[in-house]
């Protein structure tokens, strides 16, 4: 069979025992997106159904495009507290936090694969990236 009859699909569906780093990362991204999108959707649907953010009613003043936006949880602990009883803003925030975790999980998974493959240069590069990301995370969290 010539290369012309092969599609991109040829790269997919390989035996699980010999999974490439690409397939592992692709699966992490797909599941991360699926789960976070489902949680955000649940929150948005609840918001529309109840007409409330959880702490205040959602009011659209006549003639104005923007409602009172209120404020959402500022961290995972606050978002989790808003789950019982379920508050729309907390559910949406939780979904968004899962979305943010997705690329970070992906970097961590790449590190695991590079370690497995004993690829020393890329283990080093990935570790450096993770350290810088952690520094940047704490700088950002500490600012303002």
């Amino acid at each position: 069979m010539s290369a012309h009859t092969h599609g991109a699909a040829e790269y997919r569906h390989r035996p699980a025992a010999r999974r490439d780093i690409e397939d592992i990362i692709s699966a992490i991204l797909r599941w991360g997106v699926f789960i976070s999108a489902a949680v955000v959707t649940a929150g948005v649907v609840l918001l529309l159904a109840t007409g409330s953010t959880g702490s205040a009613p959602l009011v659209f003043a006549p003639g104005r495009l923007l409602p009172d936006l209120g404020r959402g949880p500022t961290g995972p602990a606050e978002a989790l507290r808003g789950l019982v009883p379920p508050q729309p803003y907390s559910i949406i925030a939780l979904g968004l936090m899962l979305l943010i975790l997705t690329p970070i999980t992906r970097v961590a998974a790449s590190l695991a694969v590079f370690l497995r493959d004993r690829d020393r240069a890329y283990v080093l590069i990935t570790c450096l990236v993770l350290v810088v990301l952690a520094v940047s995370f704490f700088l950002g969290a500490g600012a303002h």
């Binding site: 991204l29 997106v33 104005r64 979904g95 943010i100 500490g142």
Partner: protein, 279 residues
């Protein structure tokens, strides 16, 4: 305005941002931010919070396809990520210490020149074979993918690894300091310096922007800048658009992508020059 209409409008506009962003390797901020601030009158702080979510959604939404199709070069991505992340930290530390006006003009001019250089290479479908440098060879910055538009397998090898890394550091500083997305610089460095196929450049940029954005997203959350009513529907719309964009992009030609990139560059360049001149 009803709540349902408001949410649907946000989802629809964000879907367009996700579609364009995923194809071009950008975060979609150039659509989301003006829409929120200029059309809806959202405070810039909350618009930036929604935009950072949009970047992560564009990246993660399209990357699963691009990675599975081998369009994303994971090694190139991880290697360049070193430059952008350290640059972004440097930029964040320098913020407030360095006058940004001159920087806006400098980067505005740089992007205008890049648009010109892209225009010169607008007919080039695939880069000519290059002589890889020592670093590109040592770090195995090469790859292969099946091009659906050309109906052939494309192998490539990167060159100029260190200049590209240095450029990424500069781009990271610019994005940390000026609060602009660095996707445009990533694409330019991979296409212009490393001589990767345009598709590989935008797919790899798409892959990288999510990581950088995720690192700063914690700060946006902590400051209360991620508003669920704005960021939630934006995330859903962008994810949807990015999914469609990722399917579409594999069928486009590299020359089309490059040509489509030029007006975007000119727009960002003009915006930066204006900001620099107005002060």
């Amino acid at each position: 305005m009803t709540a349902f209409l408001f949410v649907s409008m946000l989802v629809a506009v964000s879907a367009v941002a996700g579609l364009i962003g995923s194809i071009m390797g950008l975060g979609g901020g150039i659509i989301v931010i003006p829409f929120l601030t200029l059309v809806l009158g959202v405070p810039i702080r909350l618009a930036l919070g929604a935009s950072i979510v949009s970047v992560i959604a564009t990246s993660s939404g399209a990357a699963s396809s691009y990675v599975a199709d081998r369009l994303t070069n994971l090694r190139v991505g991880m290697f360049l990520e070193l430059g952008t992340t350290t640059g972004a930290v440097t930029g964040a530390l320098l913020a407030g210490l360095v006058p940004t006006r001159g920087l806006y003009i400098l980067f505005g001019l740089l992007l205008a020149y890049s648009a010109y250089s892209l225009f010169q290479r607008r007919q080039q479908e695939l880069p000519a074979p290059v002589e890889p440098d020592r670093f590109s060879r040592r770090l195995q910055l090469r790859g292969e993918y099946y091009d659906q538009a050309l109906g052939q397998r494309v192998s490539y090898h990167a060159t100029c690894a260190l200049p590209a890394l240095a450029t990424m550091y500069g781009a990271g500083i610019a994005s940390g300091l000026l609060g602009i997305g660095s996707g445009v610089f990533k694409v330019l460095a991979m296409d212009g310096l490393m001589r990767l196929p345009m598709k590989v450049s935008t797919a790899t940029s798409n892959f990288m922007i999510g990581v950088t954005a995720a690192a700063s997203a914690g700060g946006y959350f902590a400051r209360g800048d991620v508003n669920p009513l704005l960021a939630g529907p934006v995330a859903l719309g962008v994810l949807l658009g990015a999914r469609v964009g990722a399917r579409l992009m594999t069928r486009l030609r590299n020359t089309f992508l490059r040509k489509a990139f030029i007006p975007i560059l000119l727009y960002i360049s003009a915006e930066m020059l204006l900001r620099g001149i107005r002060g």
